[in-house]
Amino acid sequence: MIRSLPRLAALAGKQLLRHPLRTGFSAAGIAAGMFLFTSVETLQRSLRRATEVAAADTTLVVYRENRFCPATSRLPEHYAESIRRIEGVREVIPIKVQVNNCGASLDVVTFRGVPPGDLFRYGPEIKIVKGSLEEWERIDDGALLGSQFAARRGLEPGDRFDAAGITVQVCGVIQSPFPQDASVAYVKLPFLQQASRTGLGVVTQFNVRVESAALVEPVADRIDEEFRSASEPTATRPEKAFFAETAGELIEIVAFSRWLGLGAVLAVAGLVGNALLLIVRSRVREHALLRTLGYPDKAIGFLVLSEGALLGALGGIAGVGLAILLLNLKSFTFSNEGQSLAIRADPAVLLTGLAAALALSLLASLWPAWRALRSPIVENLRR
C-alpha cells in the first residue's frame, strides 16, 4: 500500500488534469481565499511586530498628557535638556510630527522634523542607502525618506514633492531598524516648525533611548514626574505601547480583519469540499471499479485526499505567492495619528499560508473521502 502511494498521488494529479475547467475554477477560488488570508495574516503580524513589547525594547515616547493626535500634542523643545539629564537616558531626540491627515488610511504622508545633528546620534543604526547626508544637511527643505515611503511614492533623490502643505526636496533614502522610520520623511526641525506654523521651540514628542530595558519604566516615571507641574505635562510610554494606544482606529480595523481571514478560510474549505464532493459524485463507477479490482478502501480514500491536497497546494501557492509579491512590491503602509504600520510579509507568513491551504484542503476532503468509501460497490457499478 505504502509503495503505491506515489502512484496513487500521480493518478490524483492526472484526474485533476482530465478536468482542467473544474480544477481551474477550484484552484482559482482557493487562490482568492488564500490571497485574502495571507493579506490578513500579514496585517496581523505587522501589527504584532509594532505593538508587542519585547524584553529588549529601550525606546520611550514622551507625548503631551491626554493627547493622541500629533496636531494637538505640543511640548516645549527645551524639555529635551531636562530629559537628557535624567539618569539612565542614553539619548533623546525632539520630534515635530506633521501628517496630511490624522485618520486611519493608506498613503498617509508623515513628516518628522528632527534637529539635523541629532538623527544619527540618536539612531546610529540608520543608514543612508540612496542620496547623501551632506545634501540633507546643506539645504533647508531637504528630506530623508524611509525606504517603504520612497518605494510607495516612487521617489528618488533629487525629486521634489509636496504633502500636508509642505514642499520638500528628496536628499536621500534611509534604511532603519526602527519600524516607524520605514514610512516617514525626515526633515529639519526648524524647517518643519516654521512650515507648519506651530512656531520655533514647539515639538510634538520626544523619543528617548534608555541605557537598558530594565530602566524603561523608572525613566518613564522620572520624566513624567519632572514635568508634572509644568504647563505642558507629559505622558511617557514605551514606543510600542504608545503605538497601541495612539493608533486606536488602525488597531480596530486590523482587529476586524480577523473576521475577513475567517471568512477566507471558510470560503476555501467550502470550495474544496464542494469540488471534491462533485468529483466523488462523478466518479462513483470508477471508484467502484477500482475497489472491485482489489484496491483497498484506504487507497480510494488516499486518492480523494490527494486530489484535495493537490488542489489546496495549487491554489495555496498561487494565492499566497501573489499576495506576498503584491505586498512586497507595493510597500503598503497603514497610518493613523502619525503612527505608521508598514505592512510587510515575512517568510513565516509564506509558510503559514501554505500550511493553512494544505491543512484546510485535507480537512475539507475528509467528508468526500468518507462518502467515496461508504458507497456500495455493486450499486455503483450498475450506474
Binding site: 475554477f25 490571497f35 493622541f68 490624522c102 502643505g165
Partner: protein, 381 residues
C-alpha cells in the same frame, strides 16, 4: 420553447444542489450588498456633511486637515465685518468660529476613548441649519452637546451620552446638556463643547477655522477676501470640497472593502460554477433527447438559463431579506464618524444585478458545454 415548469421541476430534482446554488448566490449577493452599503454610506455621510453654501476659512497650508489648521481668533470678527452677502437669519450673520480638537474622553467604568470635540458658539446653529436639539437644552460653560451617534463612535452604552450624564474631557468634569441630530452627517458622531471651554482644555488661543454660510455672496468673494488679507494667512475652501477631499483620502479603504468582498465572493462564485457545470454535464443525454424530439438548442439554452436564474434570484431574494432584517439601520463607524447603513434602491439594485449576472454568466458556459456535442455523440454519452 420548453415550459417554465420544466425548468422549475428540474431545480427540485436535486435539493442538495439547489440548496448549494441558492446559498452560494445568497452569500455573494449579500457580500456585494454589504460592500455597496458600506462604501456608499461612507461617501454619503461625507458628501452630506459638506454644504456647498458653507465656506471654511482655514490656515493657509492646512486645507487638507482642519485639526491641523490654526488661525488668529480675530479672523472671525474681521471676516464677519468685512464680508458682504453672508447669510443672516434672524439678523445674525452666519459666521461660526470653531476649534476642532482631538482628545481623550473619560467615562467612569470604561477605558478612555479618543474623541473628536468641536468647540462652537451658538452661531454654529446658523451655519449648520440641519442641526436640531433632540433632547435637553443648549449648553452653558462646563456642559457639552453629544451627537446622537457619538455613543456608537466612542463605543459606549447609549445612555452614557444622554442629557445629565457626566464625563471628563482632558481630565475636566463636564456634563451632557443635550443630544443633537445632524441627519446623515459626521457631526452626529461628534461632541460639541463651548468654544471658550475648549480653548481652556486645549490651551490654545488660535481657532481651527471659521465657517461662513453664503447668502448673496459667491465663493469667489470669500476667496478674494483671503487673498487681500494676506496678514491673516487664510485659505478659503468650500465645505463640500473639503469633505470631498476627505472622501478621496478614504478611497483606499473603500477599495479595500470592495476587493475583500470580491475575494470572498469569488470562492462562492467559482464553487457555484463548478456545481452548475456538474449539474448540466450530467444532463447531456437528456438535452440531446429533447433536441431529437424537436426542441431547438436555443430553446434548451433558454430553459437552462431560466433554471439558473430562478436559483440565483431566489438567493438574491434571501440575501435581500437578510440585508433588510440585519443590515438596514445598523450603524457603522470609520475614522471620522459613524453612519447608518441603508439598503437603499442603489444597494438593492446592486444585489439584483449581482444575482442576475450570476444566474446568466453561471449558466451560459455550462449550457454551451452541455449543448455543444453533436446530437449522435450526445445521445450515446
Amino acid at each position: 420553447m420548453l415550459p417554465f415548469s420544466y425548468a422549475l421541476r428540474n431545480l427540485f430534482r436535486d435539493p442538495v444542489r439547489l440548496l448549494q446554488t441558492v446559498g452560494g448566490s445568497a452569500l455573494v449577493v449579500l457580500l456585494m450588498m454589504t460592500a455597496c452599503s458600506l462604501t456608499s454610506g461612507m461617501r454619503r455621510v461625507l458628501g452630506a456633511t459638506g454644504s456647498p453654501r458653507n465656506v471654511l476659512l482655514l490656515g493657509a497650508g492646512s486645507e487638507e486637515n482642519v485639526e491641523r489648521s490654526e488661525i488668529l481668533p480675530s479672523a472671525a470678527g474681521i471676516a464677519e465685518t468685512s464680508l458682504r452677502g453672508i447669510s443672516a437669519p434672524l439678523n445674525q450673520r452666519a459666521v461660526s468660529p470653531e476649534i476642532h480638537f482631538m482628545t481623550f474622553l473619560e467615562v467612569d467604568g470604561f477605558p478612555r476613548r479618543q474623541a473628536r470635540v468641536r468647540g462652537v458658539t451658538p452661531k454654529a446653529f446658523l451655519t449648520y441649519p440641519g442641526v436640531r436639539i433632540l433632547a435637553g437644552a443648549l449648553p452653558e460653560s462646563g456642559e457639552i452637546l453629544a451627537g446622537r451617534l457619538a455613543w456608537r463612535r466612542l463605543n459606549l452604552p447609549k445612555d452614557l451620552l444622554q442629557p445629565g450624564a457626566r464625563l471628563r474631557i482632558d481630565g475636566v468634569a463636564v456634563s451632557v446638556s443635550a443630544v443633537f441630530a445632524a441627519p446623515g452627517t459626521v457631526m452626529e458622531s461628534e461632541i460639541w463643547a463651548d468654544l471658550d471651554d475648549l480653548r481652556t482644555f486645549a490651551k490654545r488661543d488660535t481657532l481651527s477655522c471659521v465657517v461662513l454660510r453664503l447668502g448673496d455672496a459667491a465663493f469667489q468673494d470669500i476667496d478674494l477676501f483671503t487673498k487681500q488679507r494676506l496678514d491673516l494667512e487664510l485659505s478659503a475652501v468650500r465645505e463640500s470640497d473639503y469633505y470631498g477631499r476627505l472622501a478621496e483620502f478614504y478611497a483606499p479603504l473603500r477599495t479595500m472593502t470592495w476587493i475583500t468582498a470580491a475575494l470572498v465572493a469569488s470562492g462562492a462564485i467559482l464553487g457555484g460554477l463548478n456545481t452548475l457545470y456538474a449539474a448540466f454535464a450530467s444532463r447531456i443525454r437528456e438535452m440531446a433527447t429533447l433536441q431529437a424530439i424537436g426542441f431547438s438548442r436555443a430553446a434548451l439554452a433558454f430553459s437552462l438559463v431560466q433554471e439558473s436564474l430562478v436559483a440565483c434570484l431566489s438567493g438574491t431574494l434571501l440575501a435581500s431579506a437578510f440585508a433588510i432584517a440585519f443590515l438596514d439601520g445598523r450603524t457603522a463607524t470609520f475614522s471620522i464618524g459613524s453612519f447608518i447603513l441603508e439598503v437603499s434602491p442603489g444597494v438593492a439594485l446592486t444585489g439584483l444585478l449581482t444575482g442576475s449576472t450570476l444566474g446568466l454568466l453561471g449558466a451560459l458556459p455550462a449550457a454551451w458545454r452541455c449543448l455543444r456535442p453533436p446530437l449522435p455523440e450526445a445521445l450515446r454519452s
